[in-house]
């Protein structure tokens, strides 16, 4: 655990040293919501939820894309001698989870300011968002670890990750609709169960397969 924490801290230090990375993401969030809002002009609850997740989707892809990309080949060899692949993967997942949570809360704040906060059950949306961040950080980290091995890694991450994200996203949209109160559905526990099981499936598969894919 301590070693993982070290890795995360290193990651964060590198990220903060190059300040444009983190501010770039935040700027991306801001400008995307601004563009969407200036097109829509007003966001009723249902559209609010859809817009939120569309922006979140692209921001998260942007943020996680370069997980494995920005480091040199040499550093990975160095890491490989020092850490177990699982430690490296867990560190990356935690780091990306942090990033996604930052994006989530920033986006929520920004959209609430410019388009109002329509939630009947904000607690549910908070839980949904956290679940989504966990699931997507596992999925995106795993996919970007595959994509880094190919020639065009940026476009391939999107090509491979988007269809795989859809089952998770559909569930999240249903839960968001429950949080917003735009669905007649009274029992969100079914969706919650499905989401939980899908996330555990994704994370289990990713943890099982990553050490194997990481060797090269």
């Amino acid at each position: 655990m301590n070693r993982i924490w070290n890795l995360i801290a290193t990651e964060a230090r590198i990220e903060l040293r190059e300040r444009y990375a983190l501010t770039g993401i935040l700027l991306y969030v801001l400008s995307a919501s601004f563009i969407v809002f200036s097109i829509w002009r007003q966001l009723p609850p249902k559209e609010w939820g859809l817009t939120f997740w569309v922006i979140f989707l692209f921001c998260s892809l942007m943020a996680v894309l370069k997980t494995f990309g920005k480091e040199s080949e040499g550093r990975y060899f160095y890491y490989y001698t020092l850490y177990h692949p699982l430690e490296l993967f867990t560190a990356k997942v935690f780091y990306n989870l942090g990033l996604l949570l930052v994006i989530f809360f920033t986006l929520w704040l920004v959209l609430s300011v410019i388009a109002g906060n329509h939630f009947l059950r904000p607690g549910w949306f908070l839980v949904t968002g956290c679940m989504a961040c966990i699931g997507l950080s596992f999925l995106l980290t795993f996919i970007s670890s595959i994509a880094i091995k190919t020639q065009q890694n940026a476009s391939l991450t999107a090509i491979m990750a988007l269809p795989l994200m859809i089952p998770v996203l559909i569930n999240i949209l249903q839960l968001t609709a429950y949080g917003l109160g735009t669905t007649p559905d009274d029992n969100p526990w079914n969706e919650m169960m499905l989401l939980t099981s899908m996330i555990s499936l994704v994370s289990g598969m990713a943890l099982w397969l990553f050490p194997y894919l990481w060797r090269s």
Binding site: I146, A147, M160, L164, I166, L194, L209
Partner: protein, 369 residues
Amino acid sequence: MVVSVSLALLMLSATDRPTTFRLAVWKWGAIVLLLYVFIAGWIVPLHPGIIQVNPGTASAGDTVTLEVKGYNTSFLRDTSQLSAWLRLSGDTVLKAGHIRVFDDRQLKARFYIPAAFPFRSEAYPLTLIVVNGADGASVLPNAIFASPAVRHQPEEMSLWTQHKLQGIQVKAGIQYPFRNILAETIRNTYFHVPMWFAMILLFGVSAFYSLHYYRKGDMDLDRKSVAFIKVGLIFGLLGLLTGMIWAKNTWNAYWSWDVKQNMSAIALLIYSALMVMRSSVEDDLQKARLTAGYNMFAFVLLIPLLFIIPRMTDSLHPGSGGNPAMGGEDLDHTMRLVFYPAVVGFILLGLWISQLVYRVDKLKGNTWS
């Protein structure tokens, strides 16, 4: 079918020793089953039915003359037992007072709709049943909607139970059921559904080989798993196409953003992404390893995508939103006689083509190295 026959002919002509040409038993099985499916699937007629009734509404206390258009019917052949019925529910039926037959496909039936109903409603859906000696009973559910009478006349209540629905027999011989809206397209069941069965099985076999590759690291296993993915993708594409043609005829649009359509399109996207990913890796070992990893990952996610999510949302497609998947209503015993062989036949065909693709890949690989 055409594919399998031409493949067989190709193999026959390609071999140098035609006298020793042999096929494994299961391949002959596939050929025989698919021949049977294509012949029986196209040739067996549909049960007589009713496709149109005019007018679609009537008001109680009035006499209404219905123009009935039959499908596959032969009204003229045996007019002795000809009768027409409007059924409200159970034994609550009306018998047509007068029937005039124009030809085998058209007749007019006159009904008097009583000015009293056994229960209260805004509109009463009535099922039309036409019975004759040659066709047995042809049924059209909700053929007309009767609106309540302006003046309620309780003494007419007895008209509903005056006649008993009787003399209904099933037409002898082998035929597929006539379903409203589906009509002849019901035959697509033998081609559309087995495509998906075959696709799931092929992807499953592919994931199994990937798992083996993960354990053993033999390049041959990678070749096998990719061959199964390629063929599975083709089957999925055919399933989507047959489904779209079917949807055009029954849902009135090729693509209606139905959850089942979307999910299967996404499933195909996932596996197409796998093929794209493969083509952009140069190192063979790396390629095989990434394929194995992504393939297992994708197959595990495919299960909620195809089997859980569509069942949780409303859909036009059978098998979700409370519709029966392959319940007794849509698949009767005659259809089962063709449907199960079709499933087995198409699965065997899929395995066969995958085997050929694998062999071709292997030969190509050998020439390179």
